[in-house]
Symmetry: C2
Subunit: 394 residues, 2 copies
């Protein structure tokens, strides 16, 4: 018979899907320029030209058998060397190719990281608000995802609650900074304190609690934001990265998993990754895309529009009476909804053709996510609608 778990997942109501469908319907009715769709985290700036140039160069210089041939299960060695060198240049780390495993985006990197450092039945802690897909990621690895409630004043880590939830069954803590959906970047003080707690608890339990750091937004940081390189503060860190946002290649499914070379488990973890691939059908990222990512790994798209949009929205929304922690990066913000039921709030917005995602989806009700990865003109045009929405609650 058909699979029960996946059939159940299929039956679960997905508000993002509902919003997406409504948005499409309205676009057909009134024109897409009149729908203010802030529901999707899809980059709005094109990939750097260097991407096309790198693809063309490969087609012109590499023999097809080499270019399109099987790559090693860890990823192409030169690709891993280039990415390691770029990380070391940026963050004064000392990664080698042997610490990197090339993946089909951050989702694959997380699928491997979660499986490598746990056994079925173990617990994974994450911190609200969190990326909704952590739920199926953990389920697929046979893990219990436990969510530390949000500190809604700062969206930094609520340490007392985190510490109270750590147990000897905690295989890893999974964090996401810069954060989707809050846009908050964990400060150096936050990361230091997290590392101190994890070290102490690992010692107490006599086994490591790994830190899995999901960093697809690492390169979208706004002026003046303190943005530590997380692995530098905790040896047992696995960094999961995607080129989706930094060079606007979300469809090309390319990223990597990097194990901190200072972890005493570094060699073992990397060696487990190809074994994990054998059971999930992963078998590597596309060769052409691997080589392309390596060529452009030190670049980014022109990401400045995201900060421009954040400034416009943050200033306007604050003026309209919204309460919001100011983002330090990403292309998201996560204000409080104007009624406790953020689903109802987002439905009211939807009736004004303003597409927002309720915080319930991120384990943090009473808030909503704005994905402002859209042209600035679209943001400007939407501001009166946000004002109208706020006024409707007076």
């Amino acid at each position: 018979m058909l699979n029960k778990m996946y059939t159940k997942m299929l039956g679960e109501k997905d508000i993002i899907f509902e919003i997406f469908n409504y948005s499409q319907k309205r676009a057909a009715q009134i024109g897409s320029e009149n729908v203010y769709d802030f529901s999707l985290g899809n980059p709005s700036v094109p990939a750097p030209w260097a991407v096309s140039a790198a693809i063309t160069r490969q087609l012109n210089t590499l023999e097809p058998l080499k270019l399109h041939g099987y790559s090693p299960s860890m990823g192409i060695v030169e690709v891993r060397e280039k990415i390691a060198a770029d990380l070391n240049r940026r963050y004064q780390t000392h990664y080698k190719a042997a610490n990197l495993f090339v993946t089909a985006g951050a989702a694959s990197a997380l699928a491997h990281a979660l499986r490598a450092v746990s056994n079925p039945g173990d617990e994974i802690l994450t911190i609200a608000p969190h990326f909704p897909e952590y739920i199926p990621y953990a389920a697929g690895a046979g893990l219990k995802l436990r969510v530390v409630p949000a500190d809604t004043e700062t969206f930094q880590i609520p340490f007392e609650q985190l510490e109270a939830m750590l147990t000897p069954s905690t295989a890893a803590v999974l964090i996401n900074s810069p954060n989707n959906p809050s846009g908050i970047v964990y400060s150096t003080a936050t990361i230091k304190r997290l590392a101190e707690i994890l070290k102490r608890k690992s010692c107490e339990y006599g086994q490591p609690i790994f830190l899995i750091s999901d960093e697809p937004y690492r390169d979208i940081i706004f002026k003046g934001t303190d943005s530590p390189y997380i692995a530098a503060y905790y040896d047992d860190t696995i960094t999961c990265y995607s080129f989706s946002k930094s060079v606007s290649l979300p469809g090309e499914r390319i990223g990597y998993l990097a194990v901190n070379p200072d972890s005493r488990y570094a060699a073992q973890i990397i060696e487990l990754c190809p074994q994990i691939s054998r059971t999930t059908g992963h078998n590597g990222a596309a060769s052409l895309i691997q080589r392309t990512a390596a060529e452009v790994c030190s670049l980014t798209s022109d990401l400045s529009v995201y900060e421009t949009n954040k400034n416009l929205l943050y200033q306007a929304l604050t003026e309209y009476g919204f309460n919001c922690v100011e983002p330090g990066g990403t292309f998201y913000m996560f204000p409080r909804s104007l009624e406790p039921d953020s689903m109802a709030f987002c439905r009211r917005a939807m009736e004004m053709d303003l597409m927002l995602v309720p915080g319930d989806n991120f384990g943090c009700p009473g808030h909503f996510r704005i994905a402002y990865c859209v042209p600035t003109e679209r943001v400007k045009k939407a501001l009166p609608v946000f004002r109208r929405l706020a006024e409707s609650y007076r």
Copy 2:
């Protein structure tokens, strides 16, 4: 603690890896032209020029945001339409885009197919000799893989044994024709009889037994071989395909899963696929590669060298006293080893710098696999070594 299952897999001795390492070592010592490496199933003919042309055309005509943007979780609609049209043209089928799910190669297609039609603990039957990776594929889906022993006279399906091994816990039968490692193609009579048994048993058990057909070698068929399109004979068939071999793109990780539209479960199975992706970190094949595959799906590389090589090898080996069922396709053959212990046989070949893979790896000891996806000159040069190997057993 680190994962026990993957750590155990890592510890298992892999003869292919041993052969590969030895081959590399010998190539460094005596030159790769003096090592007769028939151990790897890596295409030896380049991708058609149309591949580069299709990539270049996309770079020149599609906006980067569209070209590299997120694709739907089922795969790009136009891509699925083109593949469906090509299948219908070739096999007089009636697939629609809605019956296709684009995957990162056949491994991903199988990972989805296995999970969709089963629940953890169910059984999957396959037929020896079989692709070794079916073992981790089944393990990853939480399934018991049971292997029907080979009919070594024909390498068609041994139906009595198959029927005896079917139980109400059998979720699916997994077949691979044209077959790796035997090169045998299941005949129309074989597929008809398989379909008859599966229909009867499904009826008896009151639930469907699915047929999962792994077909990466479908386009490598030698002259005069009867090669039925398998799904045409059994409604509850899921076809798993890869563009790795037909257009020599193994590194680009592109393939698809096609559910027979005549299955009453067709719609449900396809809908489960994106849910499965959410738990395995799949999230689709690279957009650029999806579009490229769709452009070239009606083409193949020049595959004629594989038949030339088969003819040379089959004739010579038969003359030298090897017993071999003549392949009908692929770039493999699977003769009997000249001693019952095929591991020992392959080690003796290795000492003559002839790299072969023992049948034990394919659930069929007493045989060995020759992967003749190499230049014909290499085959010719290797014939005296095969002769010497045969003579060493006289």
